[in-house]
Symmetry: C2
Subunit: 312 residues, 2 copies
Amino acid sequence: MSSAPAFSLDAWSRAHLTLVEVALSRWVTVEVLPGQSWGAPADLVQAMRYAVLDGGKRLRPLLVMAAFEAAAAPGDALGGSAALRAACAVELIHAYSLVHDDMPCMDNDVLRRGKPTVHVQFGESAALLAGDALQALAFELLTPADASVPLAVQARLCGLLARAAGSTGMAGGQAIDLASVGHALDEQALRHMHQLKTGALLQASVMLGAACGDASAQAQKALASYGQALGLAFQVVDDVLDVTADSATLGKTAGKDAEHGKPTYVSLMGLERSQCYAHDLLSQAHAALADSGLEHTAALAALADMVVQRSH
Amino acid sequence: MSSAPAFSLDAWSRAHLTLVEVALSRWVTVEVLPGQSWGAPADLVQAMRYAVLDGGKRLRPLLVMAAFEAAAAPGDALGGSAALRAACAVELIHAYSLVHDDMPCMDNDVLRRGKPTVHVQFGESAALLAGDALQALAFELLTPADASVPLAVQARLCGLLARAAGSTGMAGGQAIDLASVGHALDEQALRHMHQLKTGALLQASVMLGAACGDASAQAQKALASYGQALGLAFQVVDDVLDVTADSATLGKTAGKDAEHGKPTYVSLMGLERSQCYAHDLLSQAHAALADSGLEHTAALAALADMVVQRSH
């Protein structure tokens, strides 16, 4: 009989979150570069740090780390250093998107992670610039000058992240979302919108980790399926929580989607069918992990469970 | 006696601008990626194309191409393909910065290159997203999946561009600029602001071209000096033109800096000293080219002349 100890997502997450938080705090800073007499302006960095630090579930960084550990050979320290950079880079893209998404011309949200949003705290122009600078910083993190990440890996990571963030990924999904307010979307169009808006970056998190761990083609394909199912499930659950949870639990204003006439899975499928759909997607994610040929997928499996079973 | 034909910037620019315009039009588009059934949303791409195509002097792309041709071995077609991507990428970063800079929470400008600004034409949220997507697209261009650019070059280009665009470059300079409205800046602080705000991306254009051409360390150092002098000269001349030219010639609203109480070289040094300073910087740029050990620097020299002698 197998006597492998049960996997504890809680312990695994705590250890990895510490790495991520320390790295983010170190990298989002007033850095003075070699050959320059100045770093980034202090007030810009202050707004960037406010947007990134001390908040968020860090789901995307944890997905990067978990996918890396599933795909990597044991003890691959160089890959681990690349994965930590990729984990922070994807979180910077996520953080910048929240800053811009909260602005008055977009969702006009004043509360995020239980704190005033960046434009409320620092003003609109500072929020705009902090978001812009965070996107650039993501690519700075992926291209360290010290050769701690092989150049070929740097290039692969930049390519994955740029495509997940841009017009065929997150920004494209945001554009469809904006254009869809007050319009009826069918299920296929809604899924397409979410695959770009949130799915692309979640899936990219998994693929970034896989790229740092040099996964086989079979493993990459399975991890892409896992990432796609998880990305969709995340949004379905988000829509469910927007209806069932309150603002205090969510750490952001609840019920905004319905109020703004935004199409959601719940408005389209109803609450119960949306909950069933989320569980179907969870099963697909688990099945993809079983097909991956990888051994150490416990963290990825547990993260998928967490995404579907979370309360906020 | 030497009988080399005189260099014609006009003919050189026309040929290279055609390459750049065709490439931009091809790459800023509704692309359907392999394995995806969708491209970028059409209305987002429309705003992106409006921001990028049919306008602008394309100074930064021309600097990339000129630096590449100075640094490269003759007939380096692979490097030329990388340089064209870098030329377009740096223009996308420039274009996105203009879109965001024109928004109501920033400069609130309604006219750019003789056309309504993006947020006037498409709305604020579309302008915000188009800018965000253009920044990501710059890094997509630098990381083609078809191996037409060696991975090590891709990584180097992404690193250079990210640092020039981010908090220690363009976005950082914008933040200092915003914070400086109505404050007295001394000459050193003003120069620092402009080195970040416009200088970093102009200098990076030169270094991107040099990286595609695999320039020697001596050449890279000289080209960095050239790029720094040119970047400063560009801003000094910009400040001069804001006072001496009218809106029709500039293609944007003239006299805005003075009206907004923004510190400029002219407000600090006076008009005549600013004009002398621009010519000093031009001499520095020429001296750097002479020190580079490179032969084919005529285009770079002529571009520097154009920057200082332009009327808009």
